[in-house]
């Protein structure tokens, strides 16, 4: 900490003259690249929002109007009244929340055991976790369809929660292990001297200390479950268990393509992501970078 604090003024002092020599041309290019990247990133999403606010006649206007003729929320009303989006939304919320809860409950003790107990075979388990990260989801979806069909769980939310929990566990355990390994062992050791049980150490000492790690894991698990199309498409066939991404595919096949309503549904699907990106940006980046670097 102190080293970096003393180093940065030096760095800045040396960086400045170089920048002044390179003259503002370099700086202009940097800003152009930054602005261009941001515009390219944001514009398709703005277009999605604009489409969702148009009337159906406005959507099929030729030539294309950049701004909506008049802003209307009819498409948002339609996705609920005509397309029953509330059902998909509800299914998606249940599956995502249940998956996050189960993943965290299972992954924290497992990661703790892998990080702190010298388990025989722990290396094998950890390398299996990494291999699981590489398996194409479709390789899992095909046999899961057969397995769940044979036990009558197809087209249930239970099947989706089980499938997501299992498939998100490897990454979650991997991420949490990293956070636990970064903790100093001494706190746990002294707690144990005081006679605390392992479970109590995990719940009362380790979990609060790795709260950012648990948060990052929970957010990433939630978003990847929320976003998933393939498992939901495979394991559900009716409105009993179909989630929002599957609902989006239904807009195409069932009703022709109603672009306005589809865009409104898309916008609503993106809202939780935007909320997490805005409020939990630090956690997300931490999780993604740690996951990537440790991967």
């Amino acid at each position: 900490m102190t080293a970096s604090a003393t180093a940065s003024p030096v760095r800045r002092r040396r960086g400045r003259p170089a920048m002044r020599d390179g003259i503002t041309a370099g700086l202009v290019i940097r800003y152009l690249v930054l602005i261009g990247t941001v515009l390219l990133t944001v514009f398709p999403l703005i277009w999605l929002v604009l489409t969702s606010l148009r009337s159906s006649a406005d959507i099929f206007a030729v030539p294309v109007r950049v701004l909506p003729e008049s802003v209307t929320f009819n498409q948002y009303v339609a996705v609920f009244s005509q397309y029953g989006l509330d059902n998909y939304l509800w299914n998606t919320v249940i599956v995502s929340v249940a998956t996050v809860v189960l993943v965290i409950l299972c992954a924290v003790p497992c990661a703790y055991a892998m990080a702190r107990f010298n388990l025989p075979g722990a290396k094998v388990v950890v390398s299996i976790l990494l291999i699981m990260r590489m398996i194409p989801v479709v390789a899992l979806a095909i046999p899961l369809f057969a397995v769940f069909a044979s036990i009558g769980l197809l087209d249930t939310l239970t099947a989706l929660v089980l499938a997501h929990t299992a498939s998100k566990l490897p990454v979650a355990i991997w991420l949490l292990m990293g956070f636990i390994q970064d903790l100093p062992k001494e706190i746990e050791e002294s707690a144990q001297m005081d006679g605390a049980s392992t479970l109590r150490i995990i719940v009362q000492i380790v979990s609060p200390l790795i709260a950012p790690g648990i948060g990052a894991t929970a957010v990433i698990t939630f978003l990847f479950t929320w976003n998933d199309l393939l498992l939901a498409l495979t394991l559900s066939s009716s409105e009993a268990a179909q989630t929002l991404p599957v609902g989006l595919t239904n807009f195409v096949s069932q009703f022709g393509i109603d672009w306005g309503a589809m865009s409104a549904a898309g916008v609503m699907m993106v809202i939780p992501t935007l909320i997490f990106v805005w409020f939990a940006q630090g956690l997300l980046v931490k999780g993604l970078v740690t996951g990537a670097v440790r991967g």
């Binding site: 760095r11 040396r14 960086g15 170089a18 940097r30 800003y31 690249v33 930054l34 990247t37 941001v38 990133t41 999403l45 277009w47 999605l48 489409t51 030729v62 294309v64 299972c106 003790p109 702190r116 107990f117 010298n118 388990l119 388990v125 299996i128 699981m132 590489m134 194409p136 989801v137 479709v138 390789a139 899992l140 979806a141 095909i142 046999p143 057969a146 397995v147 499938a163 299992a166 490897p170 144990q192 199309l229 393939l230 495979t234 991404p245 989006l248 807009f251 865009s263 898309g266 699907m269 993106v270 992501t273 935007l274 997490f276 990106v277 940006q281 997300l284 980046v285 993604l288 970078v289």
Partner: protein, 308 residues
């Protein structure tokens, strides 16, 4: 049991954390049981069944050896899939990595608004690929889509984005590049900020050109991050499904039929689970081959250099 527990008990006096492996596995058991039952068992099952004739239509399953794999490699559809997948993986990864490094290096200084930009860059990688697919399908709509409207406005010829096979492949690649490049920018930015500053400062003092510094110092230092990013992207391009499914469902005429789309169609439209399992394992083996090349080739080169 007791003999196994005793060394652990003895250890308790040495290291105070008392690592008894039974307790460890007890803690790990919920996760391990879930993964064995719902992940490893089905995967093993479908691996075995990739050597069987396994159709949903007929209840009889029998061993056919490598025939599913042989059929797959002999089928024209899969040869097209293989070609499309290789083009998709190679082109998207190349563009994403080059653009990711370029943008990261250029914006990696004290720029106003960089913090906000980083937040915004996090949006595309985190939103549902299904929404990205539907949005780009709308943008690339031939008649009412924005992209053709812009081309028309500029007096350029319109493109048959999703209706022509070659353009369709380009369209899905553009959607993938839009979604994933921002994540690579963020990862490379994180990588750049963890680099030691001394070599770069020394080169600046010596009057090296910015391009020289980038090419001879920054890029070599960034190598570990580049390797990790390449690994992640190789794995993920061989798993790409959602964007394609919402944009083209593998069409037109199989032009965007990546391996996972191919496997899905075989399983759930042709009901040929044996073939579909074979294809999904081929997808895994292909990504393993590329990872082996990625890590094996530099390793061999280093070995050769050391011996010569």
């Amino acid at each position: 049991m007791t003999t196994a527990a005793r060394p652990a008990g003895r250890q308790r006096r040495g290291s105070s954390l008392a690592p008894s492996w039974q307790k460890g596995y007890l803690l790990a058991s919920p996760a391990l049981i879930a993964m064995i039952a719902i992940l490893i068992y089905p995967l093993g099952y479908s691996f075995v069944m990739s050597f069987y004739r396994w159709d949903l239509a007929s209840p009889s399953q029998y061993f056919v050896g490598l025939s599913n794999y042989r059929d797959t490699f002999n089928s024209l559809g899969f040869q097209q899939t293989l070609r499309v997948q290789l083009i998709f993986s190679f082109v998207t990864i190349a563009i994403e990595v080059v653009a990711g490094i370029g943008v990261a290096v250029l914006v990696n200084s004290k720029l106003r608004g960089l913090k906000l930009a980083r937040t915004l860059l996090l949006v595309p990688p985190m939103i549902a690929p299904a929404v990205v697919g539907l949005n780009f399908r709308w943008l690339f709509n031939g008649q009412y889509g924005l992209v053709n409207a812009i081309l028309r406005y500029l007096g350029l010829p319109e493109a048959p984005w999703l209706s022509d096979p070659n353009w369709a492949l380009a369209s899905v690649m553009i959607a993938d590049i839009w979604q994933n490049t921002p994540l690579l920018v963020l990862l490379f930015l994180a990588g750049l900020q963890s680099l030691p500053q001394e070599p770069i400062e020394a080169a600046q003092v010596d009057g090296a050109s910015p391009w020289g510094i980038f090419w001879h110092i920054t890029l070599p230092l960034l190598r570990p991050v580049i390797m990790i990013v390449l690994m992640l992207r190789i794995i993920d391009t061989f798993r790409t499904f959602d964007v394609i499914w919402l944009m083209t469902q593998g069409g037109p005429g199989g032009a965007t039929n990546l391996v996972t789309v191919n496997a899905y169609l075989l399983a759930f439209q042709s009901a040929s689970f044996g073939h579909a399992s074979a294809v999904s394992y081929i997808a895994l083996f292909l990504s393993l081959i590329f990872l082996a090349l990625l890590y094996g080739v530099p390793w061999m080169r280093r070995r050769l250099r050391r011996t010569s």
